[in-house]
């Protein structure tokens, strides 16, 4: 939002966002582990299968995540170019919504898995991503939060998403190929 220097008053304002984020990550992980995967989930139409759908939606979110970082740098005055804040908001919203069918298919149809390192990393990063994202969203309106809050939470969300892309879409394109 604004790049005004915040009056740092400790971590108290972050308590609720961080707690909520932690609970969100935990809830997703527990759900993925406890609920019996169905092997089937409704997804976005137009793809030949669930895997290509997920690979491409995640790639969309990946591209928008780069827009997020660039537009955030601009908002914080690090680029010397002014990008309208709307670009940051809407690229973020769209990126988030793009990930929902992916995460839904992962958790509902497949569940949290840990038998292969890649899948384990992907599962954990997925839960972490939504936790950090929740914390970041809830921290946004808290203007009394420490100044590092948004860059750190946003950076973590970005990093998690890149990790998610590397362990899914990149793997898919490398192993299976460019399949729509």
């Amino acid at each position: 939002m604004t790049a005004l220097p915040h009056q740092s008053r400790g971590l108290t304002p972050l308590l609720v966002p961080l707690l909520a984020g932690g609970l969100a990550a935990l809830a997703l992980g527990v759900y993925g582990r406890v609920h019996t995967p169905t092997g089937f989930a409704v997804g976005v139409a137009g793809f030949s299968g669930a895997l290509p759908m997920k690979a491409w939606l995640t790639t969309g979110a990946f591209v928008l995540a780069i827009v997020q970082v660039v537009s955030a740098l601009s908002m914080w005055g690090r680029l010397g170019v002014t990008i309208p804040p709307g670009v940051h908001r809407w690229s973020g919203r769209i990126a988030f919504l793009l990930t929902i069918p992916v995460a839904f298919h992962c958790l509902y149809a497949l569940g949290l898995q840990y038998d292969v390192p890649r899948v384990l990393a992907h599962s954990l990063l997925g839960c972490f991503f939504y936790g950090v994202f929740t914390a970041k969203m809830l921290a946004l309106p808290k203007h009394d939060a420490p100044g590092w809050t948004l860059p750190v939470l946003g950076g973590l969300a970005f990093t998690a998403l890149i990790g998610l892309w590397l362990t899914s879409s990149f793997w898919f394109f490398a192993v299976i190929g460019f399949k729509v």
Binding site: G39, A41, Y108, A109, V119, P141, I176, K179
Partner: protein, 237 residues
């Protein structure tokens, strides 16, 4: 707006997820089989291929079992994949804990039979040939030993038309037998290997139709009818 915007974003995500959930629950009973098909479309893709094996476990759970203490047997599962360092294919099918397997690289072949219990698979074949595998995460992972050599493999679950096929016939007093493994390629089309023998002599094997592997094919001048696993698994035991 600026205060509520982030919350609305989160809520929109949650609503979308719930919507997908409702749609999936509604669609599941009718579309179960097709769904398993779509989910396993890429047999070599670990993630999605993980799905059908789970439904197999669900089936196992669904069968009325008065004694929960009995070792859990897989009701139905089919696996297919490449044998590492060999280039051959391996296919394994399980029906109610009974299992058959087939390894073929186009030249050598081996049939296996055995059993599955609690995700552990033990199969034996002729001449000390052996398959040992563990089931889990939508794949069979283990080793295959044939002719004094041993390789490892990871075979994801597959759905028809991928899988294991066999045909037998009597031709001029000699037994004609053929086996195939069909795997759907992630990029479309099918990979298949097989071997056919007339008596003890290996004969050229015809390709099965990718979409309809059980359609009749001709070996030499004999028309044979390939069977899928359900057609011969009992006979092999």
């Amino acid at each position: 707006m600026s205060r509520l915007g982030p919350v609305i974003t989160l809520a929109a995500g949650a609503v979308l997820a719930v919507g997908l959930g409702v749609a999936s629950v509604t669609a599941t009973p009718a579309a179960n089989d097709e769904a398993a098909n779509t989910a396993a479309e890429a047999p070599s893709a670990g993630e999605t291929a993980a799905a059908p094996s789970r439904s197999a476990e669900a089936e196992a759970d669904a069968t009325p079992s008065p004694q929960r203490t009995e070792p859990k047997k897989t009701a139905k599962a089919d696996y297919g994949g490449y044998v590492k360092g060999n280039g051959g294919l391996i296919a394994i099918s399980i029906r109610d804990g009974k299992a058959v397997g087939y390894f073929c690289d186009g030249k050598a072949e081996a049939w296996f039979k055995g059993s599955e219990s609690d995700g552990e698979l033990q199969l034996t074949g002729l001449g000390g040939a052996k398959v040992t595998a563990e089931l889990g995460g939508g794949r069979a992972r283990g080793s295959v030993a044939v002719g004094g050599k041993k390789w490892t493999f990871v075979a994801p679950t597959v759905v028809k038309p991928s899988g294991l096929y066999r045909a037998t016939a009597l031709v001029r007093g000699a037994k004609l037998r053929a086996g195939w493994i069909v795997l759907k390629n992630p990029g479309g089309g099918y990979t298949q290997v097989g071997a056919a023998f007339e008596g003890d002599t290996q004969v050229p094997i015809p390709q099965l139709q990718g979409e309809r592997p059980t359609a009749p094919v001709t070996v030499g001048d004999t028309t044979i009818q390939p069977e899928d696993v359900d057609g011969f698994i009992e006979e092999m035991q």
